[in-house]
Amino acid sequence: MCGPADFGALHTSLARLAALFAGGVTTYAIYKIVSVCRERRLEPDTHKDATYDPLRALSVQGPGERSNS
């Protein structure tokens, strides 16, 4: 009913499962590293926008304009 044991097939199966698992983990790690790098690359731009730069503000207002406040 159970058939003859084939431990060679079982070893092959375990080796292939381990290879697939390693491939999956590597792919996930690469995806995670890429997404973290992308986030870090975007971060300085958002900080630059958030901080007040008087020279930049002056150039936007124009040299002749004055604020009323």
């Binding site: 009913m1 097939a9 092959t12 697939l20």
Partner: protein, 203 residues
């Protein structure tokens, strides 16, 4: 959880997940490996231990991941059918050695896998009242049990032998636990996958 009709993109995703799942299954489990694992290593009685412990949970995982990614009606059935057809085509194309007891690539095999997809589909539609994880677990356990019962009734009497009454509780218990475990894994995996694929969840 809301379910809506599958769009062409979602159907394509279901077919792709089913086909990749079939290829991985045939690659990872050559003929004789499952049988040796369950009967010679774990010393489980047969027939049906391989279905309960390996094949059913693998299929539940593939089908549920696809369903949870898209949340579309019919996704489980599409993925299960794609899995069965891809398995059949790969077995024919590459003359892959499979366990004759599992009748891979036959009409009965197609029916068994489609039945599992249908069971998942029914639970996902009917069990909307439960939380997502709860009805995911319910779908996994029930679908694995349906697959095992179908193999016991329709396939194993032709290819192996009938199951003994005293072995049924043990095999059914293993079947339910492994189905639940596969469903939980599918639930865990589907969340980062959803983000990675940037699929809009319709919920």
């Amino acid at each position: 959880m809301k379910l809506s009709a599958a769009s062409p993109k979602e159907i394509a995703l279901g077919v792709a997940v089913g086909a990749v799942g079939a290829a991985i299954f045939l690659f990872a489990f050559p003929a004789g490996s499952i049988s040796t694992l369950v009967h010679n290593v774990f010393r489980l009685p047969g027939p049906g231990a391989g279905i309960a412990l390996v094949f059913g949970p693998f299929l539940v995982f593939v089908v549920l991941v696809s369903s949870l990614l898209t949340r579309a009606n019919g996704q489980a059935l599409i993925t299960a059918s794609a899995f069965a057809i891809s398995c059949t085509l790969l077995v024919c194309a590459f003359r892959a050695r499979t366990d004759p007891k599992g009748v891979f690539g036959s009409v009965l095999f197609l029916a068994a896998v489609a039945l599992l997809g249908l069971a998942v589909e029914v639970v996902l539609v009917v069990g909307k009242a439960f939380s997502r994880l709860a009805h995911c677990l319910l779908a996994g356990g029930l679908a694995n049990a349906v697959l095992l019962v179908f193999y016991w009734l329709a396939i194993f009497p032709r290819t192996a032998s009938g199951v003994k009454g005293k072995d049924i509780p043990l095999l059914m218990g293993i079947c339910l636990v492994c189905g639940l475990w596969a469903a939980y894994l599918a639930w865990l995996v589907s969340r980062p996958l959803c983000r990675a694929l940037a699929l809009k969840l319709k919920e």
